[in-house]
């Protein structure tokens, strides 16, 4: 059985969802049963899972929310920079 410190270190170093199946199982069991670190580390795991779900849906959320688009002057200067880079390559 792994100890609290091992669980904390595992969660510090990785998203718990990326752990090997065996380690994931041991971490989950420890967190479910542990009176010392269970609630603390359980909340870290919940937040890590939530953040992972967010990154998976981020593109869709960006599209729905609209709002913050690339400002036109910035877009123009990027086009200009790309054109210049292309011309210097072609030239």
């Amino acid at each position: 059985m792994i100890g609290c410190k091992h669980v904390s270190k595992a969660l510090r170093d990785s998203n718990w969802e990326d752990l090997s199946p065996m380690k994931k199982f041991m971490v989950r069991m420890h967190v479910m049963l542990c009176a010392v670190c269970g609630r603390f580390n359980g909340q870290i795991m919940a937040m890590q899972s939530g953040t992972r779900r967010f990154t998976e849906q981020e593109d869709e959320l960006h599209e729905q929310n609209g709002g913050c688009c690339l400002p036109s002057p910035g877009a123009d200067s990027m086009k200009e920079a790309l054109r210049a880079a292309k011309n210097s390559t072609d030239g």
Binding site: A46, F54, E58, C68, L70, A81, L82
Partner: protein, 195 residues
């Protein structure tokens, strides 16, 4: 559609700004917080993409290939920002000198319970919109640490190098960022009165 059943990749860099500019900008803005920095990162990404186009192998959509370049630019930007303006009062991010921490590696034995079931709400799209808003409220080193670790999945070792901090500092930063997020999520989700 090509014989492979996929769209032809958009290999004309002049069209990238209109095709992917907004997408890349929003991605960068959430992570860098600064509109000018986000624009610079996108511009550098597009130029790097143009220069490295011969390395594009077509295995992923060019949009995601460019996003891969942008992720490196974001890490570079945070490294540069920390170098130009080192984190103040770094000692504030030292873990407590307590028996609990020495024994278990945690800073607090019984944090407040969630006021909702995280496993259930994280599946809901409307909650994710609130999560997006709360992420945008994180600031300073905590935001940088959270971005690198949780959004970008960068290793602890690399983050400590990029931000010039110790693993213990990072742990404390991430803990505070999560607490701030948790408070924000609870406040905003409960105020939306989802039931």
């Amino acid at each position: 559609m090509s014989a492979m059943g996929r769209d032809q990749p958009n290999l004309d860099p002049e069209k990238w700004v209109d095709a992917y500019g907004d997408y890349l900008y929003k991605y960068a803005l959430l992570r860098l917080k600064d509109p000018m920095a986000a624009q610079d990162a996108v511009q550098e990404t597009l130029l790097a993409g143009f220069k490295g186009l011969d390395r594009f192998d077509g295995r992923v959509d060019i949009k995601f290939w460019l996003r891969g370049i942008l992720r490196n630019k974001i890490v570079d930007y945070i490294r540069k920002a920390v170098r130009e303006r080192p984190i103040e009062n770094i000692e504030e991010y030292e873990p407590p000198d307590s028996v609990l921490y020495a024994y278990s590696g945690i800073t607090q034995m019984r944090p407040k319970k969630w006021q909702f079931d995280p496993e259930e709400v994280f599946k809901r799209k409307e909650f994710m919109e609130i999560f997006h808003g709360c992420l945008s409220n994180l600031k300073g080193p905590m935001q940088q640490a959270f971005t690198l670790k949780e959004l970008e999945g960068i290793s602890t070792k690399e983050i400590c190098e990029v931000m010039d901090i110790t693993p213990n500092n990072l742990w404390v930063m991430l803990h505070r960022a999560r607490n701030q997020l948790k408070d924000c999520l609870e406040k905003k989700w409960i105020n939306t009165d989802p039931l």
